[in-house]
Amino acid sequence: MGAQGHAHDMDRRRFLGYVLAAPVLTAAARLGADLAAPEQAAAAVPSLPGPAEILNLNDMLTVAALPTAGLIGVQLHPDGTASFALPRAEVGQGITTSSAMLIAEELDLPLDRIRVTLADARPELLFNQLTGGSNTTISTYLPIRVAAATARGRLLAAAAAAFGEPVTALTTRLGVVTSAAGRTATYAELAVAAASRTTLQVAVELKPARDFAVIGTPRNRIDARAAVTGRKQYAMDLQVPGALPAMICRPPTINGTVRSVANLAAVRAMPGITDVAVVSTGVAVRGRTFGQCIDAVRALQVAWGPGTAEGASDATVREELRRAELPLVVPPLPILTKAVDVRFTFPFAGNSALETNCAIADVRADRAEVWGSLKSPIVAQEQIALRLGLPVSAVQVHVVDGGGSFGRKLFSDAALEAAEVSKAMGKPVKLMWHRADDVRQGRTHPMSTSRVRATHSLGQVLSYEQRHTSVATDFGHGLGEVITATAAQLPVGGLAFSETIFVLTQETPYNFGVVTQLLSEVDKGFNTGSMRNIYSPNVRCAQELVVDRIAADMGKDPYRFRRDFLKDARARAVLDKAAELGQWGRAMPAGTAQGIALHPEYHSVAAVLVEIDCRPQTTGRTIPNAVTGPRVTKAVCAVDVGLAVNPRGLEAQMMGGIMDGIALALTSSLHLKDGAFLEASWDNYFYTRQWNTPAELEVFVMPPTTGEPGGAGELAVASAMAAVACAYRRATGTMPTTFPINHDAPLAFEPKPTVPPVPASPTDGLDRAY
């Protein structure tokens, strides 16, 4: 595909917009977008394109959207503002801002006059209301612009009629229409006149890229002021009449069940407590404050039945994975061939957001209303209706701004629970998981192993085989249905559900001869989900470490080696940029080193260069209730997303992805022992903290390449994790094979009890004031 030529063609295309029958101007477009053509690869020892290169996960999401798409509309108000209800979940990724930018661009209205809210569950959108796979901007880039351009067209027509001048004599700027004769009308004045009594279909053209004044310019988030003043509202900040705090006393082992409760009446009589009820996941309490709910949860005396992972520990799961590993098939090899054969282990990891699982539910006899941060609100709506025995149309689901997701909010665990609790108590509830619940009973990124065998001879890589074996990932949130609905059309016949997802998302960016990457899964006893990518951080970390190892075997520089073997010019360009900005190869003291890696996905590619300090004075730092260890002192990222709608937001996503990559490589994991996770809060689940953060960080956004936006939300995690691992290997001379590197070291914390399931609230806050 000629990138610029393609963009040019798109500019000249005409799109179908709608003007909806409404009292004020309401313009709409159908959700859906075109497929990008496959990219050609040239190779030293050519590898056939893998399925992920032909049609990756994002294409699947987009294809699936086409036949079922509903309309999404931009409304012009008599106060001169525009509004748009985005059928996606904002959880920090900046999509309300980038969506507002698309509207500002096509409507010629200042960004601060555009309000983007989150749409309630709209069942008619089917696959088109799912936030996942870094797909939001890819799938909404054209439809939002078409809706906004349609609105602008109607405003021009209304002004032309009012002025008695032709539309060709009119221009728009900053919410004002100006005629050649010098007459002006604001959008506010035209909002009613431009409305239509009947729904119309109109053909519109989009602004050519060369005229972009908003798209591609760095903008601050539209919700930033609300965030820094504390006015931004998350689910637990909403005041819903009668919805009192509620929590659940949860079992000591994963998915344990309630056998009996010894002191229901006594707990019901505790201060502030209004209700206590046994539900499917534990014993629910409702009270005046969450603090009193915590006390009630701790007071409950529950006899628990076994869970779904009784007796399981890291070692037993690891052994199960080893037994399930698919065999390697070593192809016939010439003499003098050398092989690298390594097995990597990736323990369970927590995808907890800082906002724990939570939702508000008001369930009545004939209807229900639910509020929460939900990335699959239609699935939530259907599941809640099913559980309550109500028709889907009687269940209203409101999507609220989320305090992070990282995969967690693809599922609606708290919303389902809140509905069940509200029904059981006959009252509205504001249900929140304690942090300990979120860590121990919440979803995790499943443990996996990756066996890699690569062979090389005379400076060429002849084969690369990877066998990824994982505890099953739950795809029950609808993303899976999107993929399987169309998988039959793809060259992946015969593969099981999750295997299909694996081959659609995993690609080897290098010319490594015969390449096979396969997945097998075990054990469905865990609560799992994706975690800022499904498989990529682990699969690609393993691959990039092996790349460094092969390069070392060949006596080649890791950067040069990648450069020589990369298939794709865009990947090579970001690699070069990261190497240049990060001064690859500069002299470093012993015990410190650079690492470099890259990752292509979602029609985008990011390269990350890091410097790590593994010297004793750094690894030996002591900080209370913390893990220090090796420190990434510098990180440089070069990213090409085809077209960055908001480069400043993209930088933020890369920065966050780098912090996740550092955590996955060095500090954060869950330890499974006897059917329960030992971690229970942030003082023992060691996500990156300020003392682990690089003091130097730079993100370089490449100029537009394809002219169309690729995905970004999860993109940097894999390359950052891999770069840190590679740097660690070079600094220490030891190939790390378990991640994070400290997982098998003695525990850095004293595990909290599992009964009661949540820790007591401390009282020493004043002593620790600073």
């Binding site: 509202q233 920065m655 809060s681």
Partner: protein, 158 residues
Amino acid sequence: MPQHTFRLNGEEVTVDIEDDVRLLWVLRDVLGVTGPKYGCGIGVCQACTSHINGKAFNPCSVRVADLGPDDEVTTIEGLPATVGRELHPMQEAWLEHDVAQCGYCQPGQIMAAVAKVRQARAAGHEIGDADLDEIRNICRCGTYFRIREAIRAAATRF
């Protein structure tokens, strides 16, 4: 039911609530002041960080009965008024650097940052990497680097 009186964002408040309810829940569930967020409930994540008599603290770890009528609690909602402005310079720096992603931890981060700058100043030095490394507030979106930039920028402005 016991009554508790303290000062909140410049005004005296009195609440009827049991002695041992932690201040975070008095603020959020009783008074409807939702800027301080819940992230752990045990004084670890620091998402609820607010000020008591000008010092950073975690309301999740303080019994309401441990406050007296002269104790001044400042949450993110009351921060701008402490400098008599619409926004505190730290909030302005936060906007300039577009720090927030999901935003959930940011009220606590800003309250911690203000206290950290004051702490460094009281110790007679400008805020530096060693001080920034001591900030314990978790940001699960990983905005740490922009937080550091914003704090450095704001440190000289108040």
